[in-house]
């Protein structure tokens, strides 16, 4: 942990803007309590996915299927940043917080778009990261928390944007960085690290919300002698075993457990690290007060496809064979949709089915363990092709759950495959260390694919797909918002559009082109009784990279302009 000193103050460029009006608007800032986080008010959007359970659901219904066609922009604000914007507008009683690439944080009047304060961070000159994005802030008490790429966790005063404390998570020169929004439970500010392509050993760490003092740190790859270490059969492979934690966890107030997704094993080829390699490509259940790992579920053992399972599952109850199950639901990057059960003692497999074409699993046993078609498993010196490609049936963009429809909504990608052949790469701290060179990462789509992106709706209890909207000439990189007004909202396509669908039927009800492509989660809130829908448009990182590959393979010339803009929409009174 690093206490804030003069150095840090000078490194963080803080702009005090419109001091009088900002003070007036933040003076009555509403502290965020544990109780408010457990049951967020409908008018607010207090965390990345709207609630601890990760539903990305707003119960607000003034904008609905009957009037969304009249929706128009109310205000917009340029973030001044390029690259991939992946942060939702977080709103607490009329104050909006948006983070941007490189951990800039903007505080705005949620009704008017007036800037209240801005926090900008200066990166070390020799810093680099595979993804420079940021996935949102967390609120607690009178502070705003954000991760910086270096990687650090930073606490800001919600009223002024001034740095209260910052804590160094790890040394960036060894490949660690951070992009996720923190998760805060019982005054513990929890965050994880990225770096699975650089030979890191993943972990989740918790800091005291007031002081920044480290409370606990739990590695996602066990050391020798710890439970799960027997799944690292070759000595020392665990030290650089990956299992990064680059997406925010979810929390179940009932079992009092947090759930975190872990990334790919490192390097990418399983024959270089024999064994199941726990807890890579898994969901782990951690006690938020102690960091103790209570349970886990591994989606696929000995990962060799770069299929991170970094998204935490949604905490959702469902019915199976007429029986109510306290569950977890997760569309996995490996192309399967999973139903799991949760309890104070851990996680159990219930059922699964593929939601996109997947040719690696021959079957899945009663415990949820897949049996592989070994011809589809790449290894060192062995080339193999597989579907879906390493970007998976879906990548990080959030799915959503609507309790009114009983459906989950998935931003999926279909009709793409990949191939890999591994080699042994020299490990150099902080350098690319996957076992494959970039030119040798195979990505395949047809010259004229039937479609690529899809928005899918599944019955959470019936286990069946209810509807699907497809996008012929674009992948889908858009996190989903669903609402009490019967809507499903998302961007994510290369035509820059933001869309509203009927949550029951999937019918397109409204769409509008924005400045750039939308990779960020939409949110909804209300001020003075008026409902707003907000989203940030700003294309970059993997979606941009993948678009370049698709252009090459198909001959398309689809260019998506960069540049971040916050958009806030409403229906005229």
């Amino acid at each position: 942990m690093q206490r804030l000193g003069r150095l840090q103050i000078s490194a963080a460029v803080l702009l005090a803007l419109g001091a009088m009006s900002a003070v007036a608007q933040t003076a009555d800032y509403s502290p965020v309590t544990d109780a408010r986080l457990v049951k967020p008010e409908a008018e607010n959007w207090l965390m990345t996915r709207g609630n601890y359970e990760g539903w990305s659901y707003s119960s607000l219904d003034k904008i609905n299927t009957s009037n969304v066609s009249k929706m128009v922009p109310i205000w917009s604000y340029s973030t001044g940043a390029n690259s991939g914007h992946q942060s939702p507008p977080i709103v607490n009683n009329g104050v909006m917080f948006v983070s941007t690439p490189s951990a800039q944080v903007l505080a705005l009047n949620a009704k008017t778009g007036e800037l209240l304060w801005k926090y900008k961070r200066e990166l070390p000159e020799d810093f680099s990261a595979l993804h420079n994005t940021n996935r949102g802030v967390a609120l607690y008490g009178d502070k705003v928390y954000v991760t910086g790429l270096e990687p650090v966790v930073i606490a800001l005063d919600a009223k002024t944007g001034k740095v209260v404390w910052e804590a160094k998570m790890e040394d960036y020169t060894t490949g660690y960085y951070a992009t996720l929004a923190p998760l805060i439970v019982n005054g513990k500010v929890m965050a994880g690290v990225s770096g699975g392509e650089f030979g890191v050993r993943g972990f989740v760490v918790a800091y005291d919300s007031e002081t920044g003092k480290e409370v606990w740190k739990t590695y996602t790859v066990p050391a020798p002698g710890e439970p799960g270490s027997e799944t690292w059969e070759k000595p020392d492979t665990w030290k650089r075993g990956g299992a990064s934690v680059w997406m925010t966890g979810t929390y179940d107030p009932d079992t009092k457990l947090t759930f975190w997704g872990t990334g790919n094993a490192s390097p990418w080829f399983g024959d270089q690290r024999p064994g199941d390699n726990l807890y890579t490509s898994s969901t782990i259940a951690l006690n938020p007060d102690t960091g103790k790992m209570v349970g886990h579920f591994q989606y696929h053992q000995n990962d060799s496809w770069d299929w991170d399972e970094m998204n935490a599952p949604m905490v959702v109850n469902f019915k199976k064979d007429g029986k109510e199950i306290k569950g977890l639901v997760k569309p996995a990057r490996n192309g399967y949709l999973y139903w799991l059960s949760r309890s104070p003692t851990g996680i159990e497999y219930v059922a699964s089915t593929n939601y996109v074409k997947q040719d690696v699993f021959k079957s899945i046993d009663a415990k949820g363990r897949p049996v592989y078609d070994d011809t589809r498993k790449p290894a060192t010196g062995k080339k193999a092709s597989f579907c879906p490609s390493l970007w998976g049936g879906k990548d990080w963009p959030y799915e959503a759950y609507n309790p009114k429809t009983g459906m989950i909504y998935i931003p999926a990608n279909e009709n793409h495959c990949g191939f890999l052949e591994g080699k042994v790469q020299e490990y150099v701290a902080g350098k690319w260390w996957t076992g494959v060179d970039i030119p040798d990462i195979g990505f395949v789509v047809d010259k004229s694919p039937p479609y690529l992106g899809a928005l899918q709706a599944w019955d959470v209890s019936g286990g069946k797909k209810v509807w699907e909207q497809t996008f012929k000439e674009s992948m889908h990189w858009g996190p989903i918002l669903t609402t009490g007004g019967g809507l499903v909202l998302a961007g994510g396509t290369n035509d820059r559009k933001f869309r509203a669908h009927d949550a029951q039927s999937g019918k397109l009800l409204w769409e509008m082109g924005t400045n750039s492509g939308i990779l960020a989660p939409p949110s909804s809130y209300s001020v003075d009784g008026k409902q707003y829908i907000a989203v940030v448009s700003g294309w970059g990182v993997d979606a941009q990279y993948q678009q370049g590959l698709i252009n090459t393979l198909t001959g398309w010339k689809k260019e998506v302009p960069e540049g971040g803009v916050i958009w806030v929409f409403g229906v005229p009174d």
Binding site: G5, R6, L7, S10, A11, G80, A81, N82, S83, T100, P101, S102, Q104, K120, E122, L123, E125, D126, F127, S128, A129, L130, N132, T173, E426, V428, K431, W432, D437, I438, P439, G540, V541, Q544, Y545, G548, L549
Partner: protein, 195 residues
């Protein structure tokens, strides 16, 4: 000295000039401060430096033209002061990539700063600062590991694909009595502009 309280200023590609000016007392005070802030190992490659292997079995050994495979791929290198043996690895932004190509393949401007077909560039991508450490043999392009920006080593590392906004800074090299040496500072600022 570079201290936490003074904050180390980033070394600039013209820092040797700054040192010299400071030494004869003609520079302004900030210029003297800048020169004083840069440790020799953090200075950018300087004219007269030799180049050494940055990784692999021969890490630390001086690179000769014969060490570089004709036609690629590139080798990562650090500059080293041949007198003091100071390796300029104090900043990632000092890292260099070396590649040997047929002289006739090089554009006229690239030839000017090459030596026996060897050209040198900053190995730090101008997009997000990742390593340009990979090689695309099919079209002889330098490749960034992060976002697949491609640079043409035959044409002053011009961007041919991907999100990088500008070419890699070129580092002039020369042969002195058969020894590969740095001929001058980077032709541009290495690294990327955040946001």
């Amino acid at each position: 000295m570079c201290s936490e309280e003074s904050r180390c200023q980033p070394p600039h590609f013209d820092q040797r000039r700054a040192v010299l000016k400071g030494a004869v007392g003609v520079a302004s005070l900030p210029l003297i401060d800048l020169a004083a802030a840069v440790e020799p190992n953090a200075m950018r490659p300087q004219a007269g430096d030799v180049l050494i292997h940055a990784q692999g079995d021969r890490r630390g050994e001086v690179i000769t033209v014969a060490d570089l495979e004709l036609g690629g791929p590139q080798q990562l290198a650090w500059a080293m002061d041949p007198q003091t043996k100071t390796v300029r690895d104090g900043s990632r932004l000092n890292q260099v990539l070396l590649i040997r190509l047929e002289h006739e393949e090089l554009s006229p401007e690239t030839k000017t700063d090459s030596a026996d077909g060897v050209v040198a560039y900053s190995s730090v991508c101008t997009h997000q600062g990742c390593d340009v450490s990979q090689w695309k043999a099919e079209n002889k392009m330098l490749l960034c590991v992060c976002h697949r920006s491609e640079f043409d080593p035959k044409d002053k590392a011009a961007v041919t694909f991907g999100p990088a906004p500008r070419r890699l800074p070129l580092l002039p090299v020369k042969l002195v009595e058969g020894q590969l040496q740095v001929a001058g500072g980077f032709r541009g600022k290495p690294g990327f502009k955040d946001m």
